[in-house]
Symmetry: C2
Subunit: 319 residues, 2 copies
């Protein structure tokens, strides 16, 4: 989330005329995140988040995300609930961009977290997976393992600018990873981007999961591996096994991992590190630059990948 | 919870010397509930709840409850986590009573609630059931269907004092209920007393489940039936189908009910109403009286039972 598109009060009032949510009291831009423009609106009927979708979003995919959030919210998952316009449509237009209103969630994302929050996150992730089981739609993962080789080829000419010898090591890792990638684990809708920015906490409990715009059909345990990468390394990229154990235990307290999922966890963690390493490398060399965009260090994910390459079994993640 | 046993500061300081929790800042009695004495303690290391167990508690059963809470808390269930003394024991002694310290949970129980909180409750209950699956201990339900006939016989001489004709109708209901009680539904540890007093909410999310002292091995779906009785009737004992639907949907979003559980739901709801009707009748006629004890109206549960006696299928509960 960030603010790329500036919306005026008049724009907003015109847009809100299509909803039965009462008059606009205040609005302000939300300066967090990297993909879309977001505003917090205070209306007569309560607080809402307005999202304007920027260039990376495919408008035809928005109904999938909205339906998914609506489905999960109806089952009690603490996630934004889309609000329909008077005509029934959910995805509107504002300032030339697709735009949606969703319910406001209380709580805040954490800059620092402890194992107890990893435990809560694990439960929330498993709860989301169980809720998404009854969601009928599918969406292929555009960044799944089939996408990694083409993406790697794009960054190969420049990878060594960042670190001498990176390309050869990355290429070797990717080759091994694609040979061992698991094919038959339980699948369903995963969040695929559940970084600390995208989880709100209030009073020690998870109060919201947000930003479902990478959600797709893929391996449930891969979603957990993404979280293990995002939540269980310290700033210096040392692995915190206590946080990992808490994350896995919290998840297992709600949804038991199969023995095949447990056995595949090191490979899945390598894959999750590889996926974010590759997109960070791509953005580093070819992504937009500017004051609003803070580029993310690819090497933080290279170090994670190197760590997971040494892991022999899920026991090293604390289970 | 209530305060039956008055504890002095000196008592408390002696008790706390057995823990490594730092010095006592303040303490105060908690005037809620009906079974045990509870104090909120502010210690150097944080807030804790002290519980002194009164007459209804069997001391030999306390380790079961403490182990269960510790197990569930370790899996991320938001419930009190028992604190061990320096010697490792969890159940101590204070003022001649068994006494435990548990972690403080933020949030508050609700006097009024909406369907959205029933949805959250359903998810939390299912999450507790899934977590308790991996708890190895068992505890028979002292108030299960086998206990209802003996309890009914005790109140039979006086039931009609409360309402003319109550005994005959109750007797008929119980006979039919015991003939149809389901035998082969999924079983595990249930809370068995998840009334609104025992659920804390903060920022719209469930922040804590408390009071595990009726927890026992019984049918999972019976726990849901207890909640349906406790949360889905208004003060005038009219049934709120929107709340019931939300409760069931929230539960199913985390743990799917089997077709046998769904089919048995009206019977289970009758049973839950019968269990609380019988104990309320018993307490009404034979229970302790006094300023600290607010007796609960048995007829509120007679009306619930009468409602469930008319229900033909789970569809009438909103599913």
């Amino acid at each position: 989330m960030a603010v790329y598109t500036q919306v005026t009060q008049a724009d907003l009032q015109g847009f809100l005329a299509q909803y039965a949510l009462g008059e606009l009291h205040t609005f302000k831009g939300i300066l967090a995140g990297t993909e879309n423009s977001n505003y917090l609106l205070e209306l007569a009927s309560g607080r809402y988040i307005l999202t304007l979708f920027e260039a990376r979003t495919v408008p035809a995919e928005l109904p999938f995300f909205m339906d998914l959030m609506g489905h999960c919210a109806s089952l009690g998952v603490l996630c934004p609930k889309p609000v329909a316009q008077n005509t029934g449509i959910v995805v509107g237009q504002l300032c030339g961009r697709p735009a949606v209103l969703v319910s406001f969630l209380s709580g805040q994302s954490l800059a620092r977290w402890q194992p107890v929050e990893c435990l809560a996150l694990g439960r929330a992730l498993a709860g989301f997976h169980l809720a998404s089981e009854s969601f009928a739609q599918q969406r292929p993962n555009a960044l799944d393992q089939m996408a990694w080789r083409p993406l790697a080829e794009k960054v190969s000419p420049r990878a060594d600018e960042l670190k001498q010898g990176l390309w050869t090591q990355l290429d070797d890792s990717l080759t091994r990873l694609l040979q061992t990638w698991p094919q038959h684990l339980p699948k369903g809708i995963i969040h695929a981007d559940l970084f600390p920015d995208n989880v709100f906490f209030a009073e020690g409990a998870v109060s919201g999961l947000i930003d479902f715009y990478f959600a797709c059909t893929d391996l449930y345990a891969y979603d957990l591996a993404i979280c293990l990468n995002a939540w269980c390394f310290e700033d210096d990229v040392t692995f915190n096994v206590t946080k990992a154990r808490a994350l896995l235990q919290g998840y297992q307290g709600v949804r038991s991992l199969t023995s095949a999922e447990l056995a595949a966890m090191p490979t899945l963690c390598q894959g999750a590190a590889m996926r974010f390493l590759l997109t960070r490398l791509y953005d580093w060399f070819y992504g937009p630059t500017g004051e609003l965009v803070k580029k993310r260090d690819p090497l933080a994910y290279w170090k994670r990948l190197s760590f997971h390459n040494q892991v022999k079994s899920v026991g090293e993640y604390g289970l």
